[in-house]
Subunit: 211 residues, 3 copies
């Protein structure tokens, strides 16, 4: 029945800052779904802020990236205001490989916000975390579909910690033990829990501190 | 059953800077697929950056050119910052002949990035290299289709080195010897390997150095 | 079966600068296809460059005019830089009569470039030259269709020299002698050969020289 829509490989052993592994789910199974954010022009005091989106994103996913963008700015403004200045002059290009595969849905919300914060802070996230969850502007993490398939895909990609919405805790509880073996499932209700899982160690090391 | 969508000729014996041979693949076979990048207006300290795209490109290929543009800027900014300044004022026109043939797909990603870097550095690439591969914003080279047909087309066009994604290494291994005879296949996992193959000698000659 | 899509008359005995005879080809035969370029506003040091296109042009033909525009600028910039300044302030209107007939295809590429160069240099081309050929950004002239029908139409319009792509040389060789009688066919591989045929005498007369 044709090729799987995503190749499902692990693209990056050590993703650079701005690159975060999300998880997708289709009728053909789960797969990794990376979000890549980079500067599309050098950051100067005169450069204009922008968010360019590519990857054959559907309307919901485009809106999702706008929400992640607004949220990431607000999150940093509240907690690390010196880092939030980044967004005032950053022309950001957010891409979701693979380029020929149409993608849609809101469940990459927390992944996109994490990608943008990682870029702003110039801090990669630990390489064995993947995540899935819709994000609201207030930072609430909403329920997603396909947790079983996404968990299988995450394990196949070498992931040892998966972040998923607390609203999916019952789905997680129902997963067979062999699926959950070797992978820690961490339910998150608010984005700050995602932030702690991804950047907690970097904050402790002083990487988010003002110079 | 009608004309082949591409004429499959070798258009340039010695492509100028900005012109790179990619490879296309349709149900009717493979063919060369050139990418041409030129300045559409003189470069001055006041000219505004832009990327115009022509050649009946579909949505995926248009996005692919945006990704190549962002990547080329980031690549030069990291490795040859004096050359990256080019993009701050360059109004670039990227065209994919032949103009009447609709084209789509992400597999010209590395070809487009190479075309843009070649233009920025004003350095042609060696005339007997062709390439195919999807590019991500982080510089990862992703799997493509039709490697066999593309290899046949490359040979027909006088190519002696073909760059293809490392993820297609198994496809390459399975090609019959008579197809691979006289052509070197070089799997690439990251764009910097494409860069080395295309510009390594020019860098060694000092052509990328700051004056 | 209805009116012919083009009237096929000779519109201009002595086309002014900016007007060049191309050739079209439909299921109903060949016809002349003029390209007209004029300034749509006075040229001042403050006027902004622009290219307006009319004549019921399809997508491919619109792109073709963009390619011709970029190419014409680059060609003059390289060979006659004082004339290239024209394009920095010229608001140009390019029209393809007859206005009610939908037109498409890339084969007017070299005609459009010639029209724009003729306008920029304020130099008409010799009245008995017509031409057909797709143009790439690098100045390569690509193969077209309908050479026989176009040649017949050119003769009917009093043309004595027809420029066509070198890639159509075999088509030319196969034309019956009675079709070729009284018309010189000149195959061109690169745009500079078109330039020489159209402007060579004017250059020799000093018309392209800097004042």
């Amino acid at each position: 029945v044709g090729n799987p829509p995503f190749s499902g490989e692990r693209l990056f052993e050590h993703p650079p800052a701005g690159v975060v592994m999300g998880l997708a789910w289709t009728a053909m199974g789960g797969s990794s779904l990376y979000i890549e954010s980079v500067l599309e022009a050098p950051l100067t005091t005169e450069s204009k802020p922008a968010l360019t989106k590519t990857g054959q994103l559907g309307d919901v996913m485009k809106e999702s990236s706008s929400i992640a963008y607004t949220y990431a700015k607000a999150h940093l403004l509240r907690h690390f205001p010196h880092l939030a200045q980044f967004f005032q002059h950053a022309a950001i290009h957010l891409h979701v490989p693979e380029g020929a595969t149409p993608k849609d849905g809101p469940s990459a919300g927390i992944t996109m916000a994490t990608s943008l914060i990682s870029l702003a802070a110039n801090t990669p996230i630990p390489p064995h975390i993947a995540m899935t969850g819709e994000l609201t502007l207030s930072g609430k993490v909403l329920k997603i579909g396909g947790l079983k398939e996404k968990t299988i895909a995450a394990k196949r990609s070498g992931i040892t910690t998966i972040l998923f919405p607390a609203a999916n805790a019952a789905d997680w509880a129902e997963l067979p033990d062999f699926v959950k073996e070797g992978i820690e499932g961490r339910p998150v209700e608010w984005y700050y829990e995602v932030f702690d899982a991804c950047f907690g160690e970097a904050v402790a090391r002083g990487e988010f501190a003002k110079n």
